[in-house]
């Protein structure tokens, strides 16, 4: 897994790119990473998953937990460029209703 982020002052948004695989092994690292961003700027989060190959339940848990914190200050989390077979995992778990999601063509 690799996490890259850019703070966009204009629209008060963290643009985060996730790549590789997120699973029970590295999800804690994702959690630490996201929490650090929220601490720095209480903004919205836009997660680009164009290079994300896999996410498991542990990774979803981290996203849920981040969303809870972001909602505390009325922020949003948007997920874009999800591969269809990963989007499927979001729909199975009902998380397609909780996050704003945009699927890869």
């Amino acid at each position: 897994m690799d996490i890259r982020q850019v703070w966009n002052e204009e629209n008060n948004t963290w643009c985060v790119s996730l790549s590789g695989e997120i699973d029970i092994y590295n999800a804690p690292e994702l959690k630490t990473g996201l929490l650090r961003l929220i601490e720095q700027h209480k903004g919205n989060i836009l997660i680009d998953c164009v290079d994300l190959g896999y996410i498991d339940s542990t990774g979803l848990g981290v996203l849920i937990s981040a969303l809870r914190r972001v909602k505390d200050y009325n922020g949003t989390i948007t997920i874009k460029n999800l591969k269809p077979y990963i989007y499927k995992i979001f729909t199975i778990t009902g998380l397609d209703k909780v996050f704003t999601i945009e699927v890869q063509e």
Binding site: D23, I24, Y25, Y54, D56, S57, G61, Y85, T93
Partner: protein, 132 residues
């Protein structure tokens, strides 16, 4: 009918190895990309669940039984003696069960004294037969 069995440390860092082995097998059988993905997800989440379930788990056993080119049974379990149940297991375990049930064609849970100790998962190459 071919069988493959793998024992690996029940540690988070080895779940990626379990996924690769699973994907390699499903690929060899000629499963579609979607079916390979489903099986990978099912095996990985079953591993997650068991690692989460037992606080003293050391080994995971994954047993693949290939019944035909489009029909594979995968059993994921904690081999040997009972393990200590983790009382603070994380909420993601619920997600794991949900996901496993959805991507597999059939799931049997091996329950012992009220605790899931293993999963037996059927996946067919012809897509997802069952859906609830």
């Amino acid at each position: 009918m071919d069988e493959i069995s793998i024992n690996l440390p029940a540690k988070p860092e080895y779940m990626s190895v379990a996924r690769l082995t699973t994907a390699g097998l499903a690929n060899r059988l000629g499963f579609t990309i979607d079916d390979i993905e489903d099986l990978k997800v099912a095996v990985s989440e079953a591993g997650n669940y068991l690692i989460n379930q037992f606080s003293d788990i050391t080994v995971l056993n994954i047993h693949y039984r290939i019944e035909s080119d489009d029909r594979i049974y995968v059993q994921i379990k904690v081999p040997g003696a009972a393990a200590v149940v983790n009382e603070n297991k994380s909420k993601e375990s619920e997600l794991s069960l949900f996901i496993i049930e959805s991507v597999a064609d059939q799931v049997k849970k091996e329950i012992d004294r009220g605790v899931i100790r293993g999963f037996s998962i059927l996946k067919t190459g012809g897509g997802n037969l069952k859906n609830e």
